[in-house]
């Protein structure tokens, strides 16, 4: 019988606990009463104390459980079971409040119910027992967040611990667990809570550099999907939202950094406040124009005083602004390579900056001038394609980045320090920096540099990025007046387009030929819809240059005619020029004519050319040259007449034959006659 149970095997304390347990379910009051009695009989028994705690915990009596916990922490500091319990409480504290189950919630409440000094003691003692640096940091971080006055004592120690551990473990990537905790969690806390840090400003700048390096690497690393696809993630939108950057050693929720740029700006401001910068508090939430004006006026003010500290402020503020503009811009260029924590750009393909074409009306300016001087007030205009809905912000980011970049090169000291930063961060390995530089060279008219830049990157690139570079390379060659190279690359580019040869007609939305004063650049999306027309236009521009020069030939004119069909009749002016030239010459030989020309307007014009009204031009445009025929046969009077009748018949047949879509004809032309086209340039 339990009540009188003489369990002689058990010690008195064990027996008391057993009796209490016996009542735990049937009569909780009795169980509690037994444990109260037991504690008075054996005040030094951890077994009884722990049982009392468990009983209160089981009954969900937060307050009483907390009292017992406090008591145990005071009297039984060497009990392993106690520390196991404390540890599970602290683990519960650290779990995400969103995913907390009721057990964790309850443990958290017990923690909250203990007095502050006990909470603090729990955190610090457990942290002290931790061997793993990461675990220890987590706990100390938790402690510091709960008890900010601990920051002064533990903050800097923690910073040092993380830095040491990062270098000790030889982390290859700046995106590692130690750096993350350092940059995102500890450093802001330390800078915020310590009003007066006894730290040289050089050290603070080093920390800031490490922060920049971390955030840049974090936001530019490709997203990793290591969670298996659950059915509800199969939908593309959800899969996109779930893209997670994982940092080895950290839990998933610890890897989420919701506002990296905001964090970096706040860190900059915290560092600034410690080294005595005067900074506008919310400048980074304002418009790009405002930010640039702010930076510029800061620069102008500091330029006169020319102090070391003033220069540092320019250097770091400008660099970080530069990086953000650059990042925003390049995320529209190379979105696929950027981590998924960022808002989708809303575009289906990368944007590409290319040279615009001048209309024939102002022929005198049609050539872009090489290497504009900075003093030149007429900076190039950027004309975005109408398909890019957020073109203005893309352009603004690009231009602001450009201006920041120029500002960072405005003085020798600044340039030197900026370059040194770039070297520290190994900026040359950042592909997105390369993209920006290419675009910058194109914008500045530094085509030679652009060619060199692209050629060093293009080999490793693929898909859309390869297409983009290829297009820009062609563009740069064209601007350098290396037409054959330009055409060669363009035709490579066309080969890269995947839907050439598809059945759907390509609708040319915007004219590639621009009016207006000064140089103009086009901002296009790397879609077939926009790239193919540009390629054709670039070919036309190249051929045109040569065809109307002293080195021109009928072959070039013929090629132009073929290409003009693509966007017919948009460039009728050029067509008229060609016809005029043919009339003036009086002869025209182009045996590929009937292979590639199906445009009725052009065919009609040629039918006319042959007549007396048209100027009686001697046309040799049949597939088999009349010259060849005449060489093969004896020349008789009736022969030419026969040829002429053949020509008419062929013309009529050609009109009826048109079935193939025009872009397919052009594509076939470019493929089959590639060598011929290049050869003629």
């Amino acid at each position: 019988m339990a009540s009188s149970g003489e369990n002689s095997m058990l010690s008195d304390a064990e027996w008391l606990v057993m009796r209490a347990r016996g009542y735990a379910k049937s009569d909780p009051w009795a169980a509690k009463a037994w444990l109260i009695t037991a504690r008075t009989l054996f005040p030094g028994s951890f077994l009884i104390q722990f049982e009392s705690y468990q009983l209160e915990k089981g009954a969900r009596n937060i307050k009483d459980a907390a009292v017992h916990l406090e008591d145990m922490l005071k009297n039984f500091q060497h009990e392993a079971n106690l520390w196991n319990e404390v540890q599970s409480i602290l683990e519960a504290l650290q779990t995400d409040s969103g995913t907390q189950d009721s057990k964790n919630n309850f443990l958290t409440e017990i923690f909250a119910a203990t007095p502050t000094h006990v909470q603090c003691q729990m955190l610090l003692s457990v942290a002290d027992k931790m061997k793993d640096v990461l675990e220890r940091c987590r706990l100390l971080l938790l402690a510091m967040k709960k008890f900010p006055n601990l920051v002064t004592e533990h903050g800097l120690k923690l910073v040092e611990m993380l830095c040491v551990e990062e270098s000790r473990t030889r982390m290859t990537s700046p995106v590692n667990c130690y750096r993350k905790l350092f940059v995102c969690d500890i450093l802001p806390l330390v800078l915020q809570k310590n009003r007066h840090l006894n730290i040289p400003s050089g050290q603070l700048f080093l920390w800031l550099q490490r922060a920049v390096e971390f955030y840049i690497s974090f936001i530019t690393q490709p997203a990793i999907m290591d969670t298996p696809l659950s059915p509800d993630m199969m939908s593309p939108t959800k899969a996109l939202a779930k893209r997670v950057v994982s940092i080895p050693g950290l839990l998933e929720r610890e890897c989420q950094i919701t506002d990296p740029w905001g964090n970096l700006f706040r860190l900059l401001q915290l560092v600034g406040s410690h080294v005595g910068w005067e900074m506008e508090a919310d400048v980074f939430t304002k418009s790009r124009d405002y930010q640039w004006q702010y930076l510029l006026s800061l620069y102008n003010r500091k330029k006169t005083s020319c102090t070391d500290e003033g220069r540092k402020q320019i250097l770091y503020t400008c660099t970080i602004l530069f990086l953000q503009c650059l990042y925003s811009y390049v995320s529209h260029v190379d979105a696929e390579n950027f981590a998924g924590v960022f808002a989708s750009t809303g575009l289906s393909a990368p944007v590409v900056l290319v040279e615009g074409f001048r209309s024939d009306n102002d022929e005198s300016q049609s050539q872009p001038r090489l290497k504009r001087h900075r003093s030149d007030q007429s900076l190039p205009q950027i004309q975005p394609s109408s398909s890019i809905h957020n073109a203005s912000s893309i352009t603004l980011n690009f231009l602001t980045a450009l201006k920041c970049f120029e500002l960072l090169h405005a003085s020798d000291e600044l340039r030197r320090e900026f370059i040194s930063l770039c070297q520290n961060w190994q900026m040359e390995t950042w592909s997105w920096m390369g993209h920006f530089q290419t675009d910058m060279f194109l914008y500045q008219g530094a085509f030679q540099e652009a060619v060199a830049q692209i050629q060093s990157f293009i080999l490793g690139s693929k898909d859309k990025m390869k297409l983009r570079m290829s297009l820009q390379l062609a563009c740069a060659f064209y601007c350098l007046r290396n037409f054959s190279k330009a055409c060669d690359v363009v035709m490579d580019t066309v080969d890269l387009l995947d839907r050439v040869g598809g059945d759907e007609p390509i609708e040319v939305k915007d004219s590639m030929v621009l009016g207006g004063e000064g140089r103009q650049l086009l901002l296009l999306q790397c879609t077939d819809q926009e790239i193919l027309p540009y390629c054709i236009q670039l070919l036309i521009a190249c051929l045109k240059e040569k065809a109307f020069s002293s080195l021109g030939s009928d072959m070039l004119l013929g090629h132009l005619l073929v290409l003009l069909q693509f966007d017919w009749p948009r460039q009728d002016q050029l067509f008229n020029d060609i016809i005029k030239k043919i009339r003036t010459q009086g002869t025209f030989t182009y045996n590929l004519f009937f292979h590639y020309i199906f445009c009725i307007d052009i065919l009609e014009e040629f039918a006319l050319l042959d007549t007396a009204d048209g100027g009686r031009v001697n046309l040799d445009i049949m597939s088999v040259s009349t010259k060849v025929i005449s060489q093969q046969r004896t020349v008789t009077r009736g022969l030419n007449k026969g040829v002429k009748e053949d020509f008419r018949a062929t013309l009529e047949k050609q009109v009826q034959n048109l079935g193939e879509p025009i872009h397919q004809i052009i594509h076939r032309f470019l493929q089959e006659e590639r060598a011929l086209i290049i050869q003629n340039l």
Binding site: M1, S3, S4, G5, E6, D12, W15, L16, R19, D27, W29, A30, K32, A33, W34, I36, T37, T40, L41
Partner: protein, 396 residues
């Protein structure tokens, strides 16, 4: 002058005369604050005023009784003047009115006053009544009478828990404390006729369990008022004897199927089960109240329980066991012994137990010889004797 005052009052009608009389009474006791005790003349005057204008008893005349409406007015005036009187003079006034002679009229007025004070939460009147009960002794007839009336009004008249009783601890903790002491004497739980009403037991349990400071209120007061009273011995008796009696009631309800209707059997079963439950909870509350004394009262002037009380309880337990024919191996007997042991143990450690070595030995002998062996009881007794020896040793 004295005569003038009385004369002046005699010329007034009720309720003015009483209102005036109460004002004079208040000012008499307030002005004498600095001097301990009143000069004989003034004391006599106060007594005369109380007799004639509050109790309406003039020398040589029959007791005048007020019509109910006027009596209600009188009670209201009394409550108001107790609220307004200075802290020190409150009990002096109360004492002047109710102490001299416990005649029927004055005790009936007191009962009515306390009842009203309960319903309007008038703390000063309840505090005074509590001190009065303590000075008189909780077991005395007038106090027991008052207690019975209150139990009848608040526990028996309506079965539902009384809201007035529920909030009583916040109105007057001292009153609750002495009221508990008094009810444990009114219903000693030593035979089937003295089982406390279920509703009363519910209130007491609820009070004790929600506020562990209640039980030592009277001991705190005893620094000022000399008469000792503690609810602990009575409550311990309830817990110890209660379990035997409740089990007995439960068993007889189970076995009474032959001669009673099904429904009345169910009622009895339910009642006995409730009693058992409440007693377990009450026992825990008791231990917690004792524990509270350990941490919060450094030098209580008197013990909450003594070995003499323990002897009384163990004797009564023997009687109850005999009356209920409890066998030595019965579980309820062991539970009773264990509950008793627990109270002894916790009160000893909390410094609430008054120990005389001789009496302790007597208790030990009775406990060991009258009951079957119980491990906890042995542990506690060993602890007590050990501790006692230590005390003797440490004392030079």
């Amino acid at each position: 002058m004295t005569h003038n005052l009385i004369k002046k009052l005699r010329h007034m009608d009720f309720p003015e005369c009483t209102r005036e009389a109460l004002q004079h009474l208040t000012s008499i006791f307030s002005s004498q604050d600095s001097v301990p005790g009143l000069s004989h003349g003034v004391e006599a005057l106060a007594a005369d005023i109380c007799q004639e204008f509050i109790l309406f008893k003039s020398k040589g005349k029959p007791q005048k009784t007020l019509p109910p409406i006027e009596e209600l007015q009188l009670l209201q005036m009394l409550c108001t003047s107790f609220n307004e009187a200075s802290q020190k003079s409150k009990y002096q006034i109360f004492n002047a009115i109710f102490c001299p002679r416990g005649d029927n009229y004055s005790s009936s007025l007191l009962t009515k006053l306390v009842s009203m004070a309960l319903s309007i939460s008038c703390s000063p009147v309840l505090d005074c009544a509590a001190i009065w009960a303590q000075e008189r002794g909780c077991s005395t007839r007038p106090v027991q009478q008052l207690t019975l009336r209150l139990v009848e009004d608040y526990c028996l008249l309506f079965v539902d828990p009384s809201i007035v009783f529920q909030k009583l601890p916040s109105t007057s903790p001292l009153f609750v404390c002495n009221f508990i002491t008094s009810v444990t004497m009114l219903y000693p739980f030593q035979d089937t006729r003295s089982v406390p009403p279920l509703c009363l037991l519910e209130h007491v349990t609820e009070w004790i369990n929600t506020d562990c400071t209640l039980c030592c209120e009277s001991v705190r007061q005893s620094r000022i008022h000399n008469n000792y009273s503690s609810p602990i011995p009575g409550l311990t008796g309830w817990c110890v004897r209660g379990i035997i009696l409740s089990k007995y009631l439960l068993n007889s309800a189970k076995n009474s199927s032959e001669d009673s209707s099904k429904s009345s059997q169910d009622v009895e079963l339910e009642k006995a089960t409730k009693l058992l439950n409440l007693l377990s909870k009450l026992h825990l509350g008791l231990l917690q109240s004792l524990q509270f004394c350990q941490t919060n009262i450094n030098n209580i002037s008197q013990y909450l329980i003594t070995v003499m009380n323990m002897l009384d309880i163990i004797h009564s337990l023997i009687i109850v066991c005999r009356a209920c024919s409890v066998t030595p191996e019965e579980e309820s007997l062991h539970t009773a012994l264990e509950r008793f042991s627990q109270v002894i143990q916790v009160s000893a450690v909390s410094g609430c137990l008054g120990v005389e070595t001789g009496k302790l030995n007597e208790f030990r002998n009775i406990a060991l010889n009258s009951f079957p062996r119980n491990r906890l009881l042995h542990m506690v007794l060993a602890f007590l004797t050990g501790e006692n020896q230590q005390k003797v040793q440490t004392r030079p």
